[in-house]
Amino acid sequence: MTPMQKLLQLPVNAMNMVKTAQDQMGQQDEAKSPVMTPDGGNHNWYNGEPNDPRHIRFGSGGGDQEERAHLEEGGGSLSSLVTQPLRHDDLKEMLDSNKDSLKLEAMKRIVAMIARGKNASDLFPAVVKNVACKNIEVKKLVYVYLVRYAEEQQDLALLSISTFQRGLKDPNQLIRASALRVLSSIRVTIIVPIMMLAIKEAASDMSPYVRKTAAHAIPKLYSLDPEQKDCLIEVIEKLLADKTTLVAGSVVMAFEEVCPERIDLIHKNYRKLCNLLIDVEEWGQVVIINMLTRYARTQFLNPNMNESLLEEGGGEKAFYGSDNDDDTDDEEDKEEKEKKKTEATAIVKRKPYVMDPDHRLLLRNTKPLLQSRNAAVVMAVAQLYFHLAPKAEVGVIAKALVRLMRSHSEVQYVVLQNVATMSIKRRGMFEPYLKSFYIRSTDPTQIKVLKLEVLTNLANETNISTILREFQTYIKSNDKDFVAATIQAIGRCATNIGEVRDTCLNGLVQLLSNRDELVVAESVVVIKKLLQMQPEQHSDIIKHMAKLTDNIQVPMARASILWLIGEYCEHVPKIAPDVLRKMAKTFTNEEDIVKLQIINLAAKLYLTNSKQTKLLTQYVLNLAKYDQNYDIRDRARFIRQLIVPTDKSGALSKYAKKLFLALKPAPVLESPFKDRDHFQLGSLSHLLNAKAGGYQVLPDWPEAAPDPSVRNVEVPEWTKCSSREKRKEKKADKPFYSDSEGESGPTESADSASDTASGSESGSGSEESGSGSESEESNEESESASEEDEEEEGKKKKKNVEKIKARKPVPESESEPSSGEDVKKSEKKSKPRIGSSESESEEDNDSESESSESEEEESEEESEEETKKKKKTTASKPPSKPPKKENKKEKKEMSLLDFDDFDPAPSPSQVTPLNNFLSSSLVTDLEGLSLTDNVLSPTTIIPSGNLKTYELLHRITGEGLSVEYCFSRQPFSPDPHMVAVKIQFTNSATSEAKSLHVEDAKLQSGMRIKEFPEIEVLPAGETVSVVMGIDFCDSTQAANFQLCTHTRKFFVSIQPPVGELMMPIFMTENEFKKEQEMLLQSLGQLMGMNEITEKLTLEEKCQGEHAVVQRVTTAANLSRVPCGSDKECRFAGKTVTSGSLVLVSVVTKEDGAAQLTVNCEKMVIGTMLVKDILQALTQ
């Protein structure tokens, strides 16, 4: 906190204190509330009676003083602190106690105070101490408190930060999530960098729930510090690519709040969002649909383009006419529209409109959501259809909207507003539901008026008689506002539908004899408007109204009558002067609005019939001259000059008649909802008919559709793998790189950063061999590369060795530019890959600039792309299936070669599984050579008896089909990043099962499934085994999918134990130690969390090296590292998906005591593995 802030805060605290002192009486009352007093006898807490047992408990008083000291720190030394109300001291004492129950009680009281809006900020120091409390209930309430007051007590709030930081590393995803949630909710500017880091990290958490929380945190951070926008956009982009439904809604919400203008971020995710939509939670659906509406308006063509053009051809009038149904772009100027249309016509003539398949996809996937129980979702879909669908298809929304009319009155209110707007544009849509808008006497007035509006909009020649009959009932209502609205509605019907004009007029005239003055007044006003249309036919009505001046007192109505008589005084030549006479008499007592009309009437009469009215007029003008209202005085002066001829009278007076008695256009009675649809329907702005803050304007359709190919996301399977492989290995190899970015190793964002690096490497590699025309860029690149090189000079060689050992074919151009052979080789390899890295880098263009050297990277990217182009021309291998095999062959050749060169010491005769003999990647490479499973399996498969089998489908649930699975621990041939799962089907039913296959996999983000080939027939009593591959993304999230037979579908899920998420790798003891050291160094300084050590006591049976090795290898798919001492067993492996190293060592001591150490970059995996191995060793 700056001194300034401190200064500012001081008076606040002082004020609070005064307030609290004043409130003291009131607080006594509070204590009586049932919430505050679960055990009635705590009044004495408040007056601090010394014999209260609780006081004795904390009798030392030390805590109390401490409290005060704290407070003084926070609020400055104020002597008035002594007058702090006692009850707060009590609460503080309770918070300081050792008993969780007391703490809980105190926190409950405090939270209750907050809930009532009472100030509890002075308890901050006492509360914040409990943030690390073990009791989860206390903790929750402390969080609640913190979020509420952290903003006011910034530097004290900082004390709690470390707790959350610790929470962010917790193996429990819920604790991670809640830590992030609170951390991002305390609005303290100082911690912005910490929040940013936490969000970035959480965005690549393996738990979708944590990622969702990260998405929620983005707008929080943005509102705290808008300067973080660029960084946040990167995170948003990353999360947008997430494939889980849990995240989708939240990240789109973040997108809408932070960067709604970056519509380009949506392209790649558009189809995915459309497809996920139905499974997203309701609130997310609303946000996504609204965003997609806007997106579609910028990307697709107007589906009604043709129709509107056709209609235009039919006649100008129809297009602009009031009852025209579908001019979608009526905001434009006429001219502009004209121009645009002619252009559009030209376009249309050239090619008829064909709907973009993506446009269709959106419409198709949103339609079922009209059936949602959530009104907001239904409304969102309705507006989407209204704004985007072809005219013929919009009708489907009417039914759903009418259904919402059954809902709560607030929902009705909003829906009716939108229906009112829609019904102007597309009347036909709601006509079948006319009766649903009939009004009940129990409806609230605002609903009645809106229904009336809709009914009026729906009126046409065919249904007007029914509607008018309805209106007649409404006029009798007791609700006068409603009656007035009804009369206006009748007026509108009359103007819009010529046939019923006379009927309406007659009906309204009848109302003139109504007893209620308001009704009469409203009728007069409406009649006036109607008469203006055909005055000559209705002189008797005018006469009738003239008589009303004696009775009607409502000013607006009187004014209307006077205006009518003045305007049409030629039709009532005898009555008009008489009315003026009467009015002159009462002039002084009239309302202003009436007075003005009296002056007008006088002026008009003077001009037409000066003989009879000259004196009257002068009398009125004289009266007006001395009126209190200056408008009236002005009017009188003006009119006198204009109409009464004097010598000075100007040129205007001879035009007086023209001025006053000009033919006035008939008023158009328009719906207030006309043209409201330029606001996106369903929005707050539409409802208010004014732009609300943060409203995103719904853009107009583009004239020509932008390139639809931007939405293509075709990443063929193999490219995905190779790029991932490359990326993952990069990460494993160069922890320093990501470290220097200030990011922890296991995060995805670090991945993407290093991804760039790898991209540039391959780029520079090609540069050397290429024409060298972009020497500048390549210089820059090599510079950056050399920077890295410097950083890890010492380790490079070793790493290369490891790389080869790991049998991962990678371009190594960067590492050994001296050896020409290598360069050539690597080039060969990298060629077919280029395509993949390209698609990857294009996709994350933005996320790559994440690192501090964004500029540099940009140029890198540039050059990368350019070189890629070159590559494409030179090595024009289309990234399709055929090259896949070739590619693999190449890879395989390489690795085989390396293998020969290297010849690793085969592991001593241990119990280690057989497949350790062949390094797993070699196996995959061999299989890439189209060696089938069957050839390999005899050598690699462990006898299935050793493997734990799990039940996937029980015989009874499966109606005779039982399914079991086990993790075969052999590499999955089609994709080395998948865990092979052996599935065994047993048909114990009497009939045969047909066409067993997998369907409809519901996977967490990043997870993939390689289904087993369909089993066509499984005869009764037979058993068959198949292997499928699942990429669990290094998480223990279950893979859910449907197992289908020809008759049934079963929901099943496979959840891997953590030990199955890895595969063994070979290492020598020295390598093991080095790796362990490196892991510690690289990440240790950040958190020191990648080594977990546990002490344990080995179970009797399991003492001895052999037993330990067996237990560990059963628990996890690791291989033993040969080692000299028999007191120590070491195991090594790497995770299947990301290839992170997993190192385990068990050191045994006397009496069965042992120490287990697990090193793993993926902290969560490490933690879980420790648990599993511990269990295996101790049971």
Binding site: D100, A115, K140, R406, L684, T957
Partner: protein
């Protein structure tokens, strides 16, 4: 999105406030209180109020105002729907939604609100998920709590958010596995003076109470699904299967929930179960009037009509009434001018009748409009549209559940104009 929430009682006291972003001063509610003063009825308060810096979106429910403060553009229905969810959640947790209940469980309500929104955006609104985080109070638990000093915050952390089925909590166990479905149909109708139907339709809802262990996968099918015209579902229902096979296939949430609502095809004529003969008249001279109402059964498919109730909002100018009912009893509140005649069961042999005189305030003119009658009724064991549940199947679990279906017909917004 949603910035703050205030709960306000009818007298204008703000008894609970919760802020999800920076604190918004209470004074923002003044605009709302002003509008509330202006409105004659609480229902007339506009749901959306525009103030210089904020937008106030409110609902009136169970005699409470739920007022949310919004700062930027957001779909108003989004907020309104959410506020109703809050009210439903309170109802679900504490049995009713009222001021006293909220005041009694202030901390728990506050915690619930904390969980339901994050930064103003809904986080967990499914009752199953919330109940796993914050346990609803029961008598037994509250006794245990006072003894042990623990409270209702879940000590096992939630799992629901993480499963693929966000609306169902994991690890459900019951000794008696039961699934009950109530098919409730409501008749919305407007009858005119002569008794002819101006407008009538049937709205139905299937309420479920499912207490089944594990992860049951249920399929509910109807004998005559063609009757259903427009439907809306709980998120658990698989849309596609409904579209293709007209069956409801779903993994239910645990406990009570609304499975679907439907609208019966408009082509089917609606059978109106009762007829009403009424005459309400006021004499032109003299301050007097007469009221005579008779209710009788019409198309009831052989069932008895129960719980018949007639509600009349009499004109404001009525001074007093003097009526006699041949069956049931009537109550009249002179303040609100609300006449309620509780008839009970309809006996076709002896039709209930209410008649008597109304006296108007002296000098008051004869009311123009006769008050309309709102009818309430109930018919057990009958779905007036004829909808029938065919069968309920369960997959995914091995036990045999106990299944039950109940049909009820009620009057919805059933109005007789006079």
């Amino acid at each position: 999105m949603i910035n703050s929430l205030f709960l306000i009682n009818p007298s204008g006291e703000m008894f609970l406030e919760k802020h999800w972003k920076s604190v918004v001063s209470r004074s923002v509610c003044d605009y709302f209180l002003e509008a509330k003063e202006k409105a004659l009825e609480p229902e007339d308060v506009p749901p959306v109020i525009h103030t210089p810096h904020h937008y106030l979106i409110s609902i009136y429910r169970d005699k409470l105002f739920f007022l949310s403060v919004i700062q930027t553009e957001v779909p108003p229905l989004f907020v309104i729907e959410f506020l109703h969810r809050v009210a439903e959640m309170i109802q679900d947790y504490f049995g009713e939604c009222s001021e006293t209940v909220v005041k009694d469980h202030m901390v728990m309500v506050y915690e619930l609100l904390e969980e339901m929104l994050d930064n103003g955006f809904p986080l967990a609104t499914e009752s199953n998920v919330l109940k796993e985080m914050i346990r609803p109070p029961t008598i037994l638990r509250s006794v245990v709590n006072t003894l042990t000093g623990t409270s209702n915050v879940g000590d096992t952390l939630l799992t629901g958010q993480l499963s693929t089925i966000p609306w169902r909590r994991a690890g459900v166990r019951y000794t008696n596995n039961e699934a009950y479905f109530d098919v409730v149909e409501e008749i919305d109708a407007i009858l005119d003076q002569s008794g002819t139907t101006v407008f009538a339709e049937i709205q139905g809802v299937v309420e479920a109470c499912v207490k089944l262990s594990g992860m049951p996968d249920l399929t509910l099918s109807f004998m005559n699904p063609r009757l259903l015209d427009d439907v809306s579902f709980h998120p658990c229902v698989r849309y596609k299967l409904w579209e293709s096979e007209r069956v409801l296939s779903f993994i239910p949430p645990d406990g009570n929930f609304t499975l679907m609502t439907y609208h019966v095809n408009a082509q089917n004529l609606v059978a109106i179960p009762v007829y009403v003969k009424q005459s309400i008249s006021f004499f032109e001279c003299g301050s007097d009037g007469r009221l005579d109402v008779t209710v009788g059964p019409k198309q009831t498919m052989g069932k008895t009509v129960e719980g018949v109730m007639v509600t009349v909002h009499l004109p404001k100018t009525i001074l007093s009434i003097n009526l006699t009912a041949t069956q049931g009893s009537y109550t009249y509140d002179n303040g609100t001018k609300l006449l309620v005649w509780d008839i009970g069961k309809l006996n076709p042999q002896k039709l209930p009748n209410l008649r008597g005189s109304l006296s108007l305030q002296a000098g008051a003119p004869k009311p123009e409009e006769n008050p309309s009658l709102n009818i309430d009724l109930k018919i057990q064991q009958l779905a007036i549209s004829g909808l029938k549940v065919n069968r309920l199947d369960m997959f995914g679990e091995k036990y045999k559940p106990f299944k039950g279906v109940k049909y009820i017909t009620k009057a919805g917004k059933f109005q007789v104009r006079t």
